[in-house]
Symmetry: C2
Subunit: 579 residues, 2 copies
């Protein structure tokens, strides 16, 4: 039977606990939010002794279900002050699951100033002094750790940003080639790990029991249906949009729609969009050759394979991966149209341990504050170096865009609940703006990717400017909460929204693993339960309807090229969750 592994950093004690009945069917976000809700005081200091950090593989993570290598990380967020779940695609979660660990709960707070690493194997947990790794970049540490613990382990770690307890510090995981490049980036959970003086977690699943599957036959039926859907849908199929151009296939599409935030959300269209697009990346891979590759998987078993390795002019590795959000954050949003510079900035995020969305958004707000001109590539790199060094300026930036704006008295700060917006302009695409506003996570596109119908025409097409989207936003958030719990990548949504058998497959996979009889209705009910739990935590933490709002400037500044303001009524926002 799977266990909950509880590690206390105060006394370095370890417990393998039976899974309580209430958690038995949970996984991923459902489980992290459940444990946070049950065990963390909503009014605790996020970096104090009473916050906890929860890692939970999804329900089917660790099985051969397609595109299911997600691990959720949860806790109280230092960035938003609310509950946080941030998931990553990596072999790490698969290995944790195969060790029979349903959740890893890190709690307590060491008093002696020392840093520690964990080594988790089938035989238990060992603590390793980690002081020797402090102050170093993740590109230096990861090879050392793989050398020390073996190439077949998987590693989670924080960079110096987490050591500095910066609110934009993410938790880094290795990809299939053991690079430090996959992130539970958002919400500053790396700072929570840093506050507990936990530097790394090595997982070795050799000899582990694997994931128990209650009904193998049903599971197999399900995974085949889902695989087929993924292999069929234009967005997710091999040779499809995501596989060919990566997530950055969206750059030209959003730019065309006037919804690509440019120069810190001053405009909705970027003149340099084509140069930072997925097409441009594919062209780099083709013409520069070398290690360059589109269609790279972030974890074994992914059908979509939307990651990439971007080459330098000489064919050597510039960085893996440049996502849509990243090329936008450092590109359009900073007025930079140079993919090599964007690659360099991405590499720095991976090395320092930063969320690329928050980092790019922060550089843009710093530009707004006059610390650099928009488009100043050199200065952008210098600002990232300040973060890396932890200078006073770096400490400001490391806290994210909202704090940077506050410190420099900037009013044009595109954040919600302290978290900077991702690469979609709320004024031009109303449903995603509503999602940013009401999400339990702060501004977060992965809370409910309404871009699918609003821009891509997936699951039908709705007008991007239409404001009557409370139901759409609600349904997307509920269904997404379930997907985040299943262990699948959110990108399966494209296929299962359009292909009913794909959605059936998802449910059958879960029923197969758990021995349940969930219907589509049950799945939406579970999604609603997860969101309700998260909202209750946030309310107790002091987040109200007033926090379910977009920043004021969007109401009075018209966004080119459509010259639109944020005009979704507050009543519509409040109607999303109907309280």
């Amino acid at each position: 039977m799977a266990k909950i592994l509880r590690v206390n950093m105060s006394d370095r004690s370890v417990k393998h606990e039976e899974v309580p009945e209430k958690y038995r069917l949970m996984g991923g976000r459902w489980l992290t939010s459940g444990i946070v809700s049950d065990e963390v005081d909503p009014l605790c200091h996020p970096l104090g002794p009473n916050n906890k950090l929860i890692f939970a593989p999804g329900i089917v993570t660790g099985t051969i279900a397609p595109t299911s290598g997600r691990v959720s990380v949860g806790g109280k967020s230092p960035l938003t002050g609310g509950i946080k779940e941030s998931n990553a695609g990596t072999p790490w979660g698969q290995k944790l699951a195969r060790l029979g660990i349903k959740a890893l709960v890190v709690e307590g707070y060491p008093q002696d100033g020392k840093w520690w690493g964990l080594h988790i194997t089938k035989d238990g947990v060992e603590f390793f002094p980690a002081d020797e790794y402090i102050g170093k970049g993740l590109y230096e540490i990861f090879p050392d750790l793989f050398k020390r613990f073996g190439e077949k382990v998987s590693i989670s770690a924080i960079g110096v940003a987490g050591e500095y307890k910066m609110a934009m510090a993410g938790i880094c995981f290795n990809d299939i080639d053991n690079r430090p490049s996959r992130y539970s980036g958002r919400g500053g959970l790396g700072a929570v790990m840093g506050s507990k003086h936990l530097k790394f977690i090595v997982v070795d699943d050799q000899g582990g029991p694997g994931v128990e599957i209650a009904n193998t036959k049903l599971f197999d039926i399900g995974r085949k249906k889902l695989t087929e859907a993924l292999r069929t849908h234009d967005v997710t199929k091999p040779g499809g949009g995501l596989n060919t151009y990566g997530t950055a296939v969206l750059v030209n599409i959003l730019n065309e729609a006037g919804g690509l935030p440019t120069r810190n959300f001053r405009e909705g269209r970027f003149e340099g969009a084509a140069k930072i697009s997925g097409e441009a990346m594919a062209e780099y891979c083709k013409t520069r050759g070398g290690v360059g590759r589109m269609g790279h998987p972030c974890h074994p078993g992914c059908v979509i394979q939307c990651s990439n390795i971007i080459p330098n002019p000489d064919g050597s590795e510039l960085v893996s991966v440049i996502e849509y959000e990243t090329t936008w954050a450092f590109g359009a949003n900073c007025g930079i149209d140079n993919l090599d510079v964007i690659g360099k900035l991405t590499w720095m995020c991976n090395d320092i341990g930063l969320d690329t969305i928050e980092a790019g958004g922060t550089i843009a707000v710093a530009m707004e504050a006059g610390l650099a001109e928009f488009g100043d590539e050199e200065r952008a790199i210098e600002l990232m170096e300040e973060i890396s060094k932890g200078t006073p300026l770096g400490r400001i930036l490391g806290q994210g865009a909202a704090i940077t704006g506050k410190v420099f008295g900037v009013t044009r700060v595109p954040s919600v609940k302290g978290q900077n917006m991702p690469a979609y302009e709320p004024r031009a695409v109303k449903g995603i703006g509503m999602t940013f506003a009401v999400s339990t996570m702060g501004a977060d596109h992965t809370s409910g990717y309404t871009i699918a119908p609003e821009i891509l025409g997936v699951s039908g097409k709705v007008d991007q400017f239409d404001k009557d989207k409370a139901e759409l936003v609600r349904n997307f958030q509920h269904s997404t909460a379930f997907i985040d719990s299943s262990g699948h990548c959110l990108f399966i949504a494209f296929a299962i929204l359009d292909i009913p058998s794909g959605f059936e497959g998802l449910i059958e996979e879960c029923n197969g693993v758990l021995g349940t009889n969930w219907t589509a209705e049950d799945v939406m009910k579970i999604g609603r339960e997860i969101i309700d739990t998260e909202r209750a935590f946030n309310a107790a933490a002091g987040l109200t309807r007033a926090h379910d709002r977009l920043p004021e400037f969007m109401k009075y500044e018209k966004l080119p090229p459509h010259n639109v303001v944020w005009d979704v009524p507050d009543e519509t926002l409040d109607a999303v969750f109907g309280e």
Copy 2:
């Protein structure tokens, strides 16, 4: 008839408006909070175009009522995110009242980057370009402005901190000797003034109509009763505690009670207390001579006269004034026991335009973060210089203790709603802790000075550790809101709490000026109405019960010497305002 003067910084237009009926009886805090509540969107950015800055003299300010030279300043606070009223004792408010101006409303937002000053006379308002004063200290600017506009005017201005839009920037007023030393310090209203590019406001009341008094006879009866009470009570009388030792008479008293926060609220008793006390200041004045003086009034007509001029060893002026809060903030709270250094730091606050409570609290949190050792006098001065220069480190510190703590990942940050606590330890004096928690203003002793009964035995003595104080805290906040509206200094409370005729006198003064027939019951009703208005604004701005709480560390860290934690139940806090 008195008017509301409305100045729009967007187009530099000016309007003298009739006073709407609903504001006719209001003054001071009642009026600033009323206008803010009516005209400011609770969700606006505090530094954006839609915030407003309101100046309102009290109901009797500008008359010869004793100790009534207070002016309230209101707006949405950049520090707390809620409503803010901060009042100062200065001739400025008296002169504004004598020009027949019930409130000055500053609104709008200049787009051209230029700075402006206002010159308000009986003939109207003139705008003066103020760019020449930017970047300079207030000790340099004030003499220049008095030379330019005449020695008999009164001046309000912001220092460089307001120009930088720092959340600890106060609004400075001259004292009776035209020093830049009286402050509406708390809550960052100087940043709001800075966001509007308003550098100074000169008020010249020559030829002004004066304050209308509806019933001179009743007014005279009232002011005589109040004067007599002030001249009789041990705390407020000439030669009494406040007059002889200034507000810093409290240092030894609170230290004795174990409630003097020491080294960033790590302890409740400071070994160097005697050296930073009011008694020590009086000794300086006596032995050093020169300009040194205790018992200095901050505005004409004060009976109490608790301000001071602290001399250098050679008898020249070190600074005016070192208040209790100030000598504590830079003294005990930073582990500094050198009054000359505290004087220098106070002078810097006056010059830069800072709230001394927030500044000292921030230096203490910076010491907590490891930027200096507790007690390091030189480094404390250097940190203040960083603020003055607006370096990145200075920008962090300028945002106050809560943001400084956040940026450096400190968990021991004694703030509520973003505002740092004043000089009373909640764990050792429960009622003032409750006041800090539930005040609409963030941690603020002037919201309801329960120290009077809890420590000083004024209005009866209650046990400092007793937790059953919801009613006490409520009554103090309601009555204080009325005093803040009357134009009187809060220190009249000592006399009117113990001497019934003094309280009668206060009401008769107001009835005399306004032609009303208020009873003691009416006064408490008005106080309640003010608090309710402020709480409604805060609720709409997103402040909830979760914000009516003290910081978590006080619940689990025992405070020496009494080894007490914060243990007032949340239910008791919620019972204060009974919602």
